[in-house]
Each structure stands twice: as C-alpha cells, then as structure tokens.
Amino acid sequence: MRHVTRLLAAGLMFVGLSLPAAAAAPQRVQVTGEVIDTWCYITDIMFAEGTTHHQCALWCAVGGIPVGVLGDDGEVYMVLKVGDDTTNVANPAILEIQTHRVSVDGELYERDGIKYLLIDQVVNDEGIVTVNHDDFGIQPFGE
C-alpha cells in the first residue's frame, strides 16, 4: 500500500507538465510531511523513505541532490531554501531535518507542474517517525 501511495505521489508531482506555466504569485502555505531525497524517491530506484534510506538521503543532500518534502497530501515539494540561508546545498538546516517529519511555513511556487518551496521556518519537527529499516533494510548500503 505504501508503495502504491508513493508511486501516486510521484505521479502527482509531474501531472501538471502538460499544463501552462503560470502561477506566478507565491502562496503562503504550511506543509507537513517527510523530508526526502528527491532523486531516490522520484526515480523509484529504491525505497527512499524513513530509516531505511536516511543514510543515503544525508549523503545525497550533501552531494547536491535537491531535497524535497513529501507532503501528507502526496505532493512532492522541491525545497529551494530554508530559513535565512540563500541556498540549499550542504545546508545544515536541511541535514538536521533530513528524513524527519516536519511542518514548515513558507512560500509555494508552482511552475511547469512542479512545486517549489521556500521555507521560512520549521514550525514543528517530530524527528524520524518512519522506522522501517527492519522491513526494507538499509538502502543502498545494507547493514
């Protein structure tokens, strides 16, 4: 079921590709969900949620792979910045919340069917709540 949900979420991310590129003005939003490594999640090359994938997600974030938030609404939000930082690369604020379930306030831009999030602040951090390494192992490294 989780896998189906994940595929659906990934599909929703790009369902708007055939729509016009509009939505210039940002929306103030609060998004709740898990901070994810978008490469592994979107490409579906491995199970990319929770403790199963936390180690890989950290290294990928440091390596410059864009970080996202997988919202409870099933949408993937591409993170462009967090807080006062001007970038999201090797950003300590990002690494500290990687794989965490968070609620964030910020500005949402939609462009070409992709949702971009400029996070002003993390208003709630529940830590890592998806404990699934017993089910899927540690990916892609193994134990």
Binding site: R6, L7, A10, G11, M13, F14, L17, S18, P20, A21, A22, A24, A25, P26, T38, W39, C40, I42, T43, D44, I45, M46, Q55, C56, W59, C60, V62, G63, G64, I65, P66, M78, L80, K81, T86, T87, N88, V89, A90, N91, Y109, R111, D112, I114, Y116, L118, P140, F141
Partner: protein, 227 residues
C-alpha cells in the same frame, strides 16, 4: 577549507551507488532517460514523462518570480570574456558544476544537453552552459578539453574566484569543498538545479536534475513556443 577525505569518499560512494542504480551514469552505458513508459505504470514513467504539448504561441513567457540569476562577468572556454548580456536574445540552460565531478555533474549535464538535442532545430535558440564551481582547476583550457566530450555546443564559463563567486551568488548556488577522493581529487558539494533563463536574462524555470531529458525538453519547448 580543511579537506575531509572520509566524507568525500562517502559522498562519492553514496552518489555513485545511487546514480549507478538509477542507470544514469554515462560511464555505465545505460541511459535511463531514453526509457519512456506509459505514465500510469510507475515512477520510471514519472522520471520520463512525455514531452508536453507547447502552449499557444503569442503569449510572452512570464518570469519565475524568484530572485535567481542576474549579471555575471566570466571567461568562456575559448578564453573570451563574456557577460550575461552577451547571451541575451537566446535561452540559457545554466548548470553549476566542475570538470572533475564524477557524481551529479555528468548526470545533470547529460540530461540537460540531451534535452537540447531533443528540441531539434528550435533548440538552436537554447545555449547550454556550465559555470564551474572549481575555477582554480577549471581554466578555459581545461574546459575546452573537457566539454566536447559532453556536448559540442556546451559552453563552459570560468573566471577568477571572485567572479565565479559573484555568479554563484546571483544564482543562489553554494559550493563547498567537502573532501577528496582516494586519488586526491576534490569533492565539491554544489547545487544541481538547472536554470532556464529567457532571452531577456530573466529566470523562466528551475529544472530539477531528477527530471528526464524528455521532461526537460517538454518544459523548454513550452517557453520556446511562447517567445
């Protein structure tokens, strides 16, 4: 900036593992971006959606209202000083990376340049650009030797550390030396978004490197048709 070899090796290992599993590494001989599945069949299809239909012609592309992009004054891989103004009138695809990168750069650049090829003749209006984040190593000579291996039309931009840093600030791109490989090659963490800039130099779209080249081409086509 102190090097952290173990971190660098770990990053390289992680990214290599991820990209190898993705089949996206050019050295692996398998290009997943060419694989187009029906959209309903899974995430592979998501990573390679069909090229979108262009929007109606006539409407000018609306800039992406995020403060990214702007002026730069650099040197191209032929040794010619260039500024952002020299590219006005063309669409730009801008990727920040470095020649010695063996993780996200080959993948991002491959997808970006494949997208240009997929555009066909209209793609001649699109200039793919690599701005180095490693200017001390990536001299014009180094880029001139490296870039043709990636794409014949790929332009490399470098310059003084200050000039490159200014360009990175314009695009809100950070880069940090995080370690080195066992060979001593620097590992530089850097942003990997691809920026589509319009003929007036304004930001039009941000392309995550997780997109397939087909998906990127679909997005670019829309803007080409509107301009």
């Amino acid at each position: 900036m102190a090097a952290k070899p173990r971190i660098g090796i770990a990053i390289a290992g992680a990214l290599a593992a991820v990209l190898a599993v993705a089949g996206a590494g050019p050295a692996l001989g398998h290009d997943k971006s060419k694989h187009v599945d029906p959209p309903a069949e899974g995430a592979d299809a998501v990573a390679s959606p069909e090229v979108a239909e262009p929007a109606a012609e006539g409407a000018a592309p609306e800039p992406f209202p995020v403060d990214i992009g702007g002026e730069f004054a650099l040197i191209d891989h032929t040794g010619t000083p260039v500024t952002d103004a020299d590219y006005h009138g063309r669409f730009l695809l801008v990727f920040f990376g470095y020649a010695r990168c063996d993780s996200i750069c080959p993948v991002g650049l491959k997808r970006m340049t494949e997208a240009v090829d997929l555009l066909g003749e209209p793609g001649e209006r699109v200039q793919p650009v690599l701005i180095t984040v490693d200017p001390e190593h990536d001299t014009p000579e180094v880029l001139a030797e490296h870039l043709p291996r990636l794409h014949p039309r790929l332009v490399g931009l470098t310059g003084t550390t200050e000039a490159v840093s200014a360009a990175m600030r314009s695009y809100k791109v950070n880069a940090k030396l995080v370690g080195q490989s066992w060979k001593g090659t620097p590992r530089i963490s850097h942003g990997s978004y691809i920026y589509l800039m319009g003929p007036d130099g304004a930001l039009l779209s941000i392309l995550p490197p997780v997109l397939s080249s087909e998906a990127m081409a679909g997005i670019i086509t829309r803007y080409l048709s509107q301009s």
